[in-house]
């Protein structure tokens, strides 16, 4: 009885477990419906068009992919930098990384114009394309993180976990560099085409990943009625604060640099001052909700885990706002084909592009989160992914 203390807790609430599965399943069903609807009718039934070619599905997909690589950091701090507190959380971190990556990629694939040609994407590679490189990084991520998990969870292979941890750490850094470069390599658009995109995405991933981890960890502790060690909470919340601060710093540097270039000023004015929804998403979403308020919550949290989790939820919301700003606002601003001229045409030249996302696009995006959620809930139920320090203590207490 005692040896399965943590399972006893979950099994005793198997009704609630099935409830979670149904909840996740409903979101998945909605996403499946949206996918079939788009696939059958074409993207005409979405809010996306020839100007805003990437919309809400991409906001969710890129967020999940970036957060997936970031959530693995918890494991890396344990394995690569040898911190025991983080090492105990490494399996959960690896599981979340796989689950979120799967969620993000599923959304990305479901939004393709020809999702039936996914096999083409996996068999035809243009090695000059950063997008193709990303696909290889994503596949490798699954393989490496899975192997890393096995070395952590199979005691006979524990000796290899440090090596795999290193490999996973460097792979995820390369992966996020490549994800940021999807935008960094776009030469033509004012909002993109900057080398800062790569390191900035890495810093964003640290913040979003840790926030996601803290939310899941907090929920699991609450579910099992276990109190998170105060020392652990303090360390993790302080780390989150450092990541949020660094994310704000990179964002500030990018915009200050842009403000210095005369050719970028119109875009900066649009985003920072008079861009309507885009300005709101930036200042209120990314900066205030995703940065300043979480920082305030963390620094006033004291011993309150609730405040830390609230801060983490806000970081995730701010992260989605940041992705909206990066992806949608960057396209909304007109492409400057003839600098120095005012342009008009039947193809929306010279105007701010309007994007009205449909419910189906949100359904697809939330479907990605639901997929990550379901993978996590099921995996935690059947395998020992919970942080082993506190749960070992719980087990000892039950003994």
């Amino acid at each position: 009885m005692a040896s399965t203390a943590s399972y006893v807790e979950t099994q005793s609430r198997s009704g609630a477990f099935w409830g979670l599965l149904v909840l996740g399943g409903l979101f998945m069903l909605a996403a499946l419906g949206a996918f079939l609807y788009f696939e059958h009718n074409g993207h005409i039934v979405t809010g996306m068009d020839n100007q805003i070619v990437w919309g809400i599905p991409h906001v969710f997909a890129v967020f999940l992919i970036v957060a997936a690589s970031g959530v693995l950091n918890v494991a890396s701090i344990g394995s690569v930098f040898g911190k025991p507190v983080y090492k105990a959380r490494a399996p959960l971190s690896g599981l979340l990384a796989l689950a979120m990556m799967a969620g993000g990629l599923a959304v990305l694939a479901a939004d393709l114009g020809r999702p039936d040609r996914l096999i083409v994407a996996m068999t035809h590679f243009n090695f000059k394309s950063i997008f193709a490189l990303n696909m290889m990084f994503y596949s490798g991520f699954f393989a490496i993180v899975s192997a890393y998990l096995v070395t952590m969870m199979d005691r006979s292979l524990n000796d290899y976990s440090k090596v795999m941890g290193f490999l996973a750490f460097f792979w995820r850094l390369a992966l996020t560099t490549a994800t940021g470069s999807i935008f960094g390599f776009l030469i033509a658009r004012t909002a993109y085409g900057s080398a800062i995109m790569a390191p900035m995405f890495i810093i964003y991933s640290f913040a979003y990943g840790l926030a996601a981890f803290l939310i899941v960890q907090g929920s699991m502790y609450a579910w099992n009625k276990v109190q998170l060690d105060e020392g652990v909470l303090t360390r993790m919340k302080n780390l989150l604060a450092v990541f949020i601060g660094a994310a704000l710093y990179f964002t500030a540097v990018m915009h200050l640099t842009s403000l210095y270039f005369a050719k970028q000023i119109d875009y900066e004015r649009f985003l920072l001052l008079d861009g309507g929804i885009h300005t709101t998403m930036f200042w209120l979403g990314q900066v205030v909700i995703g940065g300043i308020v979480p920082l305030a919550l963390i620094f006033t949290a004291g011993r309150s885990q609730t405040r830390v989790i609230a801060a983490s939820v806000l970081v995730v919301l701010g992260g989605l706002a940041q992705m909206y700003v990066t992806i949608v606002s960057g396209q909304a601003f007109p492409l400057e084909i003839f600098p120095g001229y005012a342009a008009t045409s039947s193809f929306q030249d010279g105007i701010i592009n309007v994007y009205s996302p449909t419910l189906g696009e949100f359904a697809l995006g939330f479907g990605g989160i639901a997929l990550a959620f379901l993978i996590t809930v099921i995996a935690v139920r059947v395998l020992r992914f919970l942080p082993q320090d506190d749960f070992a203590a719980l087990k000892a207490g039950n003994d």
């Binding site: 009718n41 074409g42 993207h43 005409i44 068009d49 020839n50 100007q51 070619v53 990437w54 393709l112 114009g113 020809r114 999702p115 040609r117 996914l118 083409v120 994407a121 035809h124 590679f125 243009n126 000059k128 394309s129 950063i130 997008f131 193709a132 696909m135 999807i182 390599f185 776009l186 030469i187 033509a188 658009r189 396209q331 492409l335 084909i337 003839f338 120095g340 001229y341 005012a342 342009a343 008009t344 045409s345 039947s346 193809f347 929306q348 030249d349």
Partner: protein, 247 residues
């Protein structure tokens, strides 16, 4: 015997000449040029040729959309009823200089870059450049990710947002794929010229010239040598196949 043979030969020559003269008289002049430049179907395109276009904005008429209509008709795109989602391979842009108020109008389409960003970013290699400089999309390997649309500095690409019927056999299109100006490759490969160029000439504007940029004797090469021409967003150094005069 020998005389007789000569006689047959002479008769044959006369008959052939008569047929040829008749053909010349009946066929439009342009057709002869097409036959002369046509490439056999089994012969690969050659990098000795670089197809390109020169657009004289001083001749391009504001309000005239003949090139656009011709493109839509030739490629089976139909009329633009939904400007946000309909494919627009070529569009007219009206420009006004912000400092001087100088106004001009010009057609904008795929610039058939020598270093095309769409080809660089395409994950599957569906976006590709032919040896003769024409940038195309392989409809069999395009997965509809739209990254090329993000990358194109000229907004030259459209995504097919809806199912399509009554396609032109020579211009296959498909829902969920990205497409753009092909320089009317199906005409060019038979020695013809793009539909937009033909329409512009038919309207009497002659603002669009098509030809081989690699051939120093071609009309387009001569013209580019004579007058100042511009590559749009030349700062990007993409080495465009389409050049503009008068901007």
């Amino acid at each position: 015997m020998s005389d007789n043979k000569d006689g047959v030969s002479r008769r044959g020559f006369l008959a052939t000449s008569a047929a040829a003269l008749g053909g010349i008289a009946l066929a439009p002049g342009i057709r002869l040029v097409e036959i002369a430049a046509a490439k056999p179907d089994d012969e690969p395109v050659s990098s000795k040729v670089r197809w390109g276009m020169l657009i004289d904005t001083t001749r391009c008429q504001t309000g005239c959309t003949d090139c656009v209509s011709a493109c839509n008709k030739e490629n089976g795109l139909g009329e633009v009823t939904k400007p946000r989602t309909n494919a627009q391979w070529i569009r007219k842009i009206d420009l006004t200089d912000l400092k001087t108020d100088h106004a001009l109008s010009l057609p904008m389409m795929c610039q058939h870059c020598a270093n095309p960003p769409c080809v660089d970013v395409c994950p599957t290699g569906a976006s590709f450049k032919r040896a003769d400089g024409i940038v195309l999309v392989d409809r069999h390997t395009c997965i509809g990710c739209r990254y090329c649309m993000m990358a194109c500095p000229y907004k030259a690409r459209s995504f097919v947002h809806e199912p399509h019927t009554d396609q032109k056999p020579e211009v296959p299109r498909g829902q969920g794929c990205v497409e753009g100006c092909t320089l009317c490759v199906h005409r060019v490969d038979r020695g013809g010229t793009p539909a937009c160029v033909e329409a512009c000439a038919a309207a009497g504007h002659n603002a669009m010239m098509f030809g081989d940029l690699n051939n120093p004797e071609s009309e387009i090469s001569k013209r580019i040598r004579e007058v100042k021409t511009t590559q749009v967003r030349a700062d990007l150094k993409l080495d465009l196949g389409v050049r503009y005069e008068g901007i």
